[in-house]
Symmetry: C2
């Protein structure tokens, strides 16, 4: 007779960074931990986001009981609309995470149909055969939890994203005691974040950037632009405190930054004195040294507020000679070209640019624990089986090695998306694989994401046809050299092709000189305009891929 097994089934995030999603199954009950997205590789033209293939969940629809979220970052919640449009299940998350989720579901008209359940650290709850205890962890975002899941064969702990911040800004400490308690009682499996496995030592506290940022505020003599990830609530809090201390009013520019600040303020994570925040339109009432602009766009996203300000194309944010621009963030690999393009534009405006180039002091810290934090948590939990999660294959392998070297675990097991790890009380082995993979989604455009993010499979989309707009741009003059080629497949006709060609020309004429040299922005503008035209005239939503030839 075959004994019953607990199945751990990663569907995303094991073998790549992002789109974290993992199923836990006992007999006929499945719970899903996280539902993230990732951003596509440059090879995948015309694709906006990538989400996990959830064929396995769809095929087992009637057994899926819940989605549990560890925290509110896009790589953990961004795939929710996609999954919820296929499977109707309740979503469990902490208060702050739910606030992000609500906004996201509202955009996709899924909010009314979704049951949201608030969870709280140390308050256990049950779903089918699972009893779950959220454990508070620290990270770059607030209100993050690990999940301890008591199953019929033992406890499984999933860390979510974490660092062990021993002096957190919100005085909500990493709950070492509960991890220790589980470790004493015995843990079957620990699933731990591998993100920073290549970093030795210990990640500094979120608090540790304050002294250097304070110095930068002290030295700024004109306007100060402060940019960070909009979800970096701690960083925003520090920026607002420093603005107040240095007598600067704060204008918030960029939709994501405004939303994030509002949520954090509503839930008491940042405390804004009355009168500190001003309407961006009122900046002209103050002298430059009385202003801080909190602005989104650290990764050089073509349509972000900072990218537009850098080429002097933002209604409110004007960067003048002598202004200081702080990018309190890291350069995410793959984004170098876009980021440095923005920074070069800032230098050309004679701004003082402070970014994380290794010579500017500590202006950014990672939200993920380094090797010593990984070792510490392993030593506290002492699991029978250790399963690295979150990362490229080589990261999982390295993490497994680090765990083995601690001597505090039974066995480290490296699994990838689609593997099924079957466990009983004392053994673990890989079973037959399930479907896993990536699904590419084209939102049409990132700027009208609110009204327009229609999630659909690339398969469906490619049946709607494909539009290639090939632009030959003269590098010297910035002018389009010849009538742009617009190639349509799957639909179209001479009329619409001509109209599309003219529209592309008109769009390019509407750009200023600096914008024209920013190909990311050129492509985005062309894409948005073509999309509108084609949808209006044909009702179709083809894949639109602008291609630039520089001549």
């Amino acid at each position: 007779m075959q004994t019953k097994k607990l199945k751990i089934i990663p569907l995303g995030g094991l073998g790549e960074f992002g789109m974290n999603c993992l199923a836990l199954r006992w007999e006929d009950d499945i719970i899903v931990i996280d539902a993230g997205l990732m951003f596509p590789e440059s090879e995948l033209l015309g694709v906006d986001i990538v989400v996990p293939d959830i064929t396995y969940l769809i095929e087992n629809k009637e057994h899926v009981r819940a989605i549990l979220l560890t925290h509110g970052h896009e790589d953990h919640i961004g795939g929710l609309p996609w999954i919820l449009s296929e499977i109707k299940v309740p979503v469990y998350a902490t208060e702050f995470t739910l606030a992000y989720v609500e906004g996201k579901l509202e955009e996709h008209h899924l909010l009314d149909d979704t049951e949201l359940v608030e969870i709280t650290p140390k308050q256990k709850f049950s779903i089918g055969p699972f009893t779950i205890e959220p454990i508070r962890v620290t990270h770059s975002l607030v209100d993050c939890v690990a999940l301890a899941i008591d199953t019929p064969v033992g406890v499984v702990i999933h860390t979510g994203d974490f660092k062990i911040d021993l002096s957190p800004l919100d005085d909500k400490p990493f709950d070492l005691h509960t991890f220790a308690e589980y470790g004493k009682r015995g843990v079957l499996a620990l699933l731990q974040d591998s993100t920073n496995v290549e970093r030795t030592g210990y990640t500094p506290s979120e608090r540790s950037v304050r002294p250097r940022l304070d110095e930068i505020f002290s030295r700024a003599t004109k306007k100060l632009f402060f940019s960070c990830f909009s979800s970096s609530i701690y960083r925003i809090r520090i920026a607002l405190e420093l603005a107040r201390d240095h007598g600067r009013k704060v204008a918030i520019v960029g939709r994501s930054m405004m939303e994030s600040t509002e949520i954090a303020q509503d839930l008491g994570y940042i405390d804004v004195p009355p009168g500190l925040i001003i309407n961006p339109g009122h900046m002209r009432d103050f002298t430059p040294d009385q202003l801080m602009v909190l602005i989104s766009g650290t990764q050089g996203e073509p349509m972000s507020a900072l990218s537009r300000a850098a080429v002097d194309n933002h209604r409110h944010a004007h960067i003048d000679a002598g202004d200081t621009v702080v990018l309190s963030s890291r350069v995410i690999p793959g984004n170098e070209k876009s980021i440095f393009r923005v920074i070069d534009h800032l230098y050309r405006r004679d701004a003082k640019v402070v970014y994380d180039d290794g010579t500017n002091g500590l202006i950014h810290v990672s939200g993920h624990g380094s090797q010593d934090e990984m070792r510490l948590l392993i030593n506290l939990v002492r699991p029978k089986f250790f399963v690295p999660v979150h990362g490229d294959y080589r990261y999982l392998r390295k993490h497994a090695q680090i765990a083995t070297d601690t001597g505090a675990i039974g066995e480290a097991i490296v699994i990838e998306d689609g593997d099924v790890l079957e466990l009983d009380k004392s053994t673990a082995h890989k079973g037959e694989k399930v479907t896993a993979g990536r699904v590419l989604i084209d939102s049409g455009s990132s700027i009208d994401v609110v009204e327009d993010l229609v999630i659909r499979d690339r398969r469906i989309l490619s049946e709607d046809g494909i539009v290639l707009a090939v632009l030959a741009i003269n590098k010297r003059t910035g002018k389009v050299e010849r009538s742009p080629e617009v190639v349509m497949r799957g639909f179209g006709g001479a009329d619409i092709t001509d109209e599309a060609r003219e529209l592309v020309l008109k769009t390019l004429d509407g750009l200023n000189g600096e914008q024209k040299t920013d190909y990311g922005m050129v492509k985005e503008k062309v894409r948005v305009e073509l999309k509108r035209l084609i949808q209006k005239t044909t009702g179709r939503r083809p894949l639109i891929m602008p291609v630039i030839l520089e001549i």
Copy 2:
């Protein structure tokens, strides 16, 4: 009356990394320093290399007297065939640099028509009104020089690429004395390499990687694969010495690695004991612990030997469980995806992979001086005017600031490609700009670069038409989901489109499972095959752009 001016006219490398090229003009005499290429941004699909726009040189053809090369890296010599096909002038360089240049010109059938002049450190020579003294500098490549150019208004020193290696492996020291001598006599302008301006301190010696590499050799129990840039002659020398010391025979795999090693051996830069190097086909005669494979492909280039070996698709280089693979190189920004794809494949083969991830000790050092070396050279030379060269705009600005802070210069001036800096004995100002920019070149394919690198302007090329091959690949099965779309513009017909479509399918069928997941390789293969077909059947050489849709 207008007095005569010396003109410094950067045509490439000031405002970007790569394609270094700078003209120096006195009245009717022009000399050109370096003639480099750069590799294109990912937005520029279908483009293989980028070279400077030399319209200015072509328009002043009769005044161009010579091209002087500081050293043999591609970003300093790679544009030579392009320039020499437009302007016939002698090329001046040191012995080793000339060896690289000869190979390159031979490939392009330009060798017979080009006058090559060997120069030697400390041996002055004159070209028109200029008297030039090459000064030995150290770098990651051998036989590199700076150029001190005596002009009617004073001495201009161009550093070329340099680090100040105080314990060089070839006992050919950085010539501090000559720089000091010029500094004492007075220098009008110093043009200095900005590459590492974001690094504090001092770059370690080329020698400093030896101890850690020695350790790695000591611990390797099976085959050892050693990869570095093929031009890193010092690194190759160290690898060969360690192989000898640890009783391993050396098989060299990869064309560039073989050529480079041959040149270095011929010119006495590496000393290979008889019997050390074996034919790759003879590896089977030795046990794994008796073998080192010197292999090219540190940047994950899709068709490189290492990339192919990583997916078990190389005739001679087979990577087995327990083998050690050392990547003694840096991860060039923009190449992360390709490099880490290769590394993940290596891990899946259960190889021990050692790369520069910050935790593996010193296995690679930069060839460019850090801030303290920049400061040291500025202090020795004490120029009236300081002009940063080589780098993005923000690098030039930072370098100017560092130079100013030394207090050892008169004035730092930031100029970009196309600017004209006019100098007399005591003043410098920017004159009217000249044409500058980038020219994109499609070599058709990187694997048949030898017989096939036809350099041509993108303008001409786009008149030859454009071919888009859109492949929809099922991520799960690795199979092409639907008949690939082949879109041709500017030529073609139903026949050839069908044939092209079938060829693409056939090409994809010929790939193994791991290759199919490597989109860089898939695209390259498809590109090469389509190119052959179209050239054979139509005699045209259109721009071919494979586009992958993952579904």
